[in-house]
Subunit: 303 residues, 2 copies
């Protein structure tokens, strides 16, 4: 009944025989409580958050549904362990493309130990966290029936530069045939990043909340971007969505906005919106080029 | 002809016989080039920025006008030194209230030396820089003819907590008579922070630019908020304005927004807008209370 999730892109994997999350057939995701008190802090967050009436519904949909906690046989055989029971956000999707983006220009939080802060500072500087205000923590990208998924390893993802991130955000919404090219075509950008229900609009909705909310500070939390390339290819309306996950380091906001999360979110928004504008421009260029036979020169000769 | 500025709230003071800025009668501000290459970096910034056609006019007005550089007798008698020649932004104002707010949740910049980063990290953690995304670096607040200015010393300003900052932002726009009270009245908030030409609108205009501009990253830069309480008291339209200063650590944006500055700016905006809403609410409460004689209880007795 329980199995390792098929589409996990970051974190510990139960499939390696380690302690990791499990899923069932009913669309639920079981996440073992992490050590060092992180697990109980995450459980406490979900319990508080799920009954927090200050969080509006349009924002609540960006969080996995929380069903409580449950004792389960752990994936590494270490016996009965407490698991968070959450919505499995990829349930029902076939071949989802997923990107896990850790938001914020620092992943440490005030009050953490000096060692922990140092460890985070080091990693934040080595990745794009400091420079971009976010880093890609994992991804899988469906490229079609033949080539399957592009799912770079942890080390490769951790070594992504600013240019790599820009390029991955383009590749994420490009047609498979263009991916080998120097410049992927971003042909899915208008339907995935753009549109009234697209990724950009959702990010902007989240941003508006973060400009005002002073309830929670989300340290070292990830934003998942996911969609189903196959449904785009089949011409059906693609459902692109964002979800926030990983709440082991959420602290009280105490009347101050989460400027660390907000700054990083704005940076991600700018990157996504740049890909979208580029794709619109190149489709205009393409249209002009396809209309070339009708273009006439000033002396009346048509080419 | 040259003298020490009367209304400087942060930085080195020429009036202490140290190397500091000077002003003249024609509305110009002379800032000696700082040591360690910071001065030449700031000069280079002003030279680039002043001819940068990518910066729109509505944003350019938030920066002091740059008139070039000039050799001048230094204020500490150390001979002829190169000075930046800038607009004296308090020229023409009588008794201006000024707040110097250093923006960003980190004041260090990528590429700085380990020692410098450590020094900044320490100070950022001791002040509100990490928690708020900004810190007050200095201020003077005109309280009226009798009491003159409230201008807390450097040490006091550096020890401001989050609650102190909230309270200073209220006190900044309160009537002198209310300042001794537990809760200053914020009676100038609607005319200084609010309104279509007020501080909040200017901050929002600056924010809109920072959401999009990827040209410059403003590390350790200050935002001055200034206005003239006397003109409010005299009933004339107060000119409240914001100006950015201190550009020794501006780096190229390289296609990435300045998420560090933007996050801090959004945090400041939230604080200012909270003071403004509070002041509106309390003026509604005051109105309701003054109408008390007309309030009737459910049994028909009027109080």
């Amino acid at each position: 009944m329980f199995k390792a999730p098929e589409h996990q892109v970051a974190g510990h994997l139960a499939s390696d025989g380690k302690l990791g999350p499990l899923v069932d057939d009913s669309g639920r995701f079981y996440k073992p409580l992490q050590s060092d008190g992180r697990g109980s802090k995450e459980l406490a967050f979900y319990e508080t958050f799920s009954s927090d009436t200050r969080v509006p519904d349009n924002i609540r949909r960006f969080f996995p549904v929380f069903y409580g906690s449950q004792l389960l046989e752990a994936s590494n055989g270490s016996g009965l362990c407490l698991h968070l029971v959450l919505q499995d956000i990829v349930s029902g999707r076939t071949n989802p493309s997923i990107m896990d983006v850790k938001i914020g220009s620092r992943t440490w939080y005030p009050g953490a130990s000096d060692d922990y802060i140092k460890k985070c500072l080091d990693k934040d500087g080595r990745t794009t966290t400091v420079s971009l205000g976010f880093r890609i923590a994992g991804l899988q990208l469906y490229e079609g029936e033949e080539s399957g998924f592009w799912k770079p390893g942890r080390k490769e993802v951790q070594s992504f530069t600013v240019d790599n991130v820009r390029s991955v955000l383009r590749r994420f919404v490009s047609s498979s045939s263009s991916i080998g090219n120097e410049k992927p075509d971003c042909s899915f950008a208008p339907s995935i990043y753009g549109g009234s229900a697209g990724i950009l609009e959702q990010l902007l909705e989240l941003k508006a909340w973060f400009e005002d909310q002073t309830i929670y500070h989300f340290h070292s939390c990830s934003l998942l971007i996911l969609f189903d390339k196959e449904s785009v290819l089949k011409g059906s309306t693609p459902v692109a969505e964002i979800k926030l996950i990983d709440f082991a380091h959420v602290l009280e906001g105490k009347g101050v906005i989460d400027h660390n999360f907000l700054g990083g979110l704005c940076s991600l928004i700018k990157f996504v919106s740049d890909v979208l504008s580029d794709s619109k421009e190149s489709s205009i260029t393409a249209n002009v080029e396809s209309e070339k036979p009708h273009v006439c020169t000033s002396n009346g000769n048509c080419v």
